[in-house]
């Protein structure tokens, strides 16, 4: 029953948030676009004029571009597969009747609250250090040669660290979704003697479909821009330079702003492709 008056008040109330976000989006975006068409080296001559699409071409034809794409895909893909599969299993386990469920939940969720720099450093040193790390001790205990995780198995290590951080998120969301499942339906299937796997495929998995999609989309957006985990572990060495990290290096380390900005535009396009799918799902939910 909104009156004309309350509408204009509402518009006024939304204004600060809208204006701020509009500015936050448009100003840097315009600048990135602007720089991406320039040869711009702040430390070596500054603005050296327009170069058209040169930066875009150079960014993708650089010898480190495809390895970076590969590293990005391996990290995003690896973490998604691990967290979604383990997340489903863990959510189903946590949904079972047990003693101390609340405490187990807390234990499982905890890694999500650890700041990225801490988890990366703790894993790097206390677990993955080839001499004193706990994994090295474990390897030696079984008579195996300890692995220099972050140099010999760098990608595996990063995927492990990041999966540890994101498993709680996937588990928590999938658990919430499982708990909204009509337990009568499951019980009926159980009564009818449907085996566990059948129940999983025909009842649980379809019910989780939307939650899984949401987990995948949201995680993809965050995983595409992983930074601190690489910054403090390998610094982009040993094949762990992702697109995000490569752009960071172009812009801040080698101060080639034009080239880095072109990379930034690619990153924005990539993130938007994922975002469109996420927004569709979220938007549908708004109508409900």
């Amino acid at each position: 029953m909104a009156t004309q008056h309350s509408r204009s008040v509402a518009r006024l109330m939304m204004a600060p948030a809208v204006v701020l976000l509009l500015g936050w989006m448009l100003v840097p975006l315009t600048m990135t676009l602007y720089f991406s068409f320039k040869k711009y080296l702040p430390l070596r001559g500054g603005d050296l004029g327009w170069v058209g699409f040169d930066n875009y071409v150079r960014f993708v034809s650089s010898s480190s571009f495809w390895p970076a794409v590969q590293a990005t895909l391996v990290i995003v893909g690896g973490v998604l597969v691990i967290t979604v599969i383990l997340g489903i299993l863990l959510a189903m386990l946590l949904d079972q009747p047990m003693w101390g469920q609340g405490v187990v939940r807390i234990l499982v969720i905890a890694p999500f609250f650890v700041m990225p720099t801490v988890s990366a450093l703790v894993w790097k040193n206390m677990f993955m250090d080839p001499v004193n790390g706990l994994l090295a001790h474990l390897w030696r205990f079984f008579g195996a040669e300890p692995i220099s995780w972050l140099s010999e198995a760098s990608m595996t290590s990063i995927v492990m660290i990041v999966s540890w951080q994101w498993l709680p998120f996937a588990t928590l969301i999938l658990l919430t979704a499982i708990q909204s499942l009509d337990s009568e339906q499951l019980e009926a299937a159980e009564m009818d003697g449907a085996p566990v796997l059948k129940r999983f495929y025909h009842i649980i998995l379809p019910h989780l479909g939307r939650a899984i999609t949401i987990v995948i989309l949201i995680q993809t957006i965050f995983l595409l821009s992983i930074f601190a985990e690489i910054f403090v572990t390998t610094g982009g060495a040993f094949g762990t330079r992702t697109l995000t990290y490569m752009i960071f290096q172009r812009v801040l380390e080698s101060q080639n702003v034009g080239l880095g900005s072109a990379g930034g535009v690619y990153a924005i396009i990539l993130a938007n492709i994922v975002a469109i799918f996420l927004m569709r799902i979220v938007g549908k939910n708004l109508d409900a």
Binding site: V114, P168, S225, A228
Partner: protein
């Protein structure tokens, strides 16, 4: 939820779930434990579990050498400031969208969400440049604003989903009785919305506390929060496990405790209300 199970099955579930839970929690447990060891004990082979003399010396050393309190204070100000500022901007917006919805409300909400998807690295240089020109580099004020902006979409969304659950009839009734907009907000809406606002504040404080792209790239010394403090341990101090553990424990302890209160809100906040 009267699913009857045998005690045997329940025991099995319990054992399995606890084993997995402890395994996932182990790195945190190990970090906290190591922080109470001496450096020699921390790298002892085979590793020492509980049979060692607990010491607080690492905490003292970390405090003394790196001025931990300053980093902590920066984290509190940056995370707290950006959250408070964000909530102040977001409450009116979320209120308007929840109670005076128009045809465009959905579009505005989705557009706000889309700004959250903007990859930080894509706008790194412009922000960096603006910070230099405005003299904001390595200042707490600058980071408060940036973190407020990156979390604003989440804040608006969370508040919106909470506000929408407040029955509109109550507001209608208040309006009938002649309540002004100010009274409506102050006496009716605010008390009903407090739990939702509190959850929003909590989750966003956590997100801002742990943010590690802008806090690493836009600070140097003065405004560096705990994320940067820990990153400074990446070498060579990281090889001193006990000190690294003490520093890490201090950085994550406040948030672990807050985090446990926010489990439920986490789902709603991070899925933009799509999973509740």
């Amino acid at each position: 939820m009267a699913r009857t199970v045998t005690t045997q099955r329940k025991t099995l579930n319990t054992a399995l779930a606890w084993a997995v839970g402890l395994l996932i929690f182990f790195p945190i447990f190990w970090t906290i434990l190591t922080s109470f060891k001496t450096e020699a004990q921390a790298i002892a082979s085979p590793p020492i579990f509980l049979n060692f003399e607990w010491t607080l010396e690492n905490y003292a050393i970390v405090q003394e050498r790196s001025d931990y309190m300053r980093f902590l204070w920066n984290s509190v100000i940056i995370a707290g400031g950006s959250t408070v500022l964000g909530v102040i901007v977001a409450i009116p917006a979320a209120w308007a969208m929840a109670f005076v919805p128009s045809k465009r409300t959905k579009d505005i909400l989705l557009w706000m969400l889309s700004t959250k998807m903007l990859p930080a690295v894509g706008v790194l240089y412009p922000i960096y440049l603006l910070f230099i020109q405005l003299g904001l580099l390595d200042s707490r004020g600058g980071l408060v604003v940036v973190l407020m902006l990156i979390n604003l979409p989440i804040i608006v969304w969370m508040l919106y989903t909470y506000f929408r659950e407040i029955p509109g009839e109550i507001l209608e009734a208040a309006r009938m009785d002649g309540a002004t907009l100010k009274e409506e907000i102050l006496y009716i809406l605010t008390p009903m919305a407090i739990p939702g606002i509190a959850s929003t504040v909590l989750l966003n404080f956590i997100l801002a506390w742990n943010e590690a792209f802008w806090t690493l790239n836009l600070t140097a010394v003065d405004a560096a929060p705990l994320t940067a403090f820990i990153a400074s341990y990446s070498s060579p101090e990281g090889l001193f496990f006990a000190k690294l553990s003490a520093a890490s424990t201090m950085a994550i302890a406040p948030i672990l405790i807050l985090g446990w209160f926010s489990q439920k809100q986490l789902v709603r906040g991070l899925t933009f209300g799509a999973v509740k």
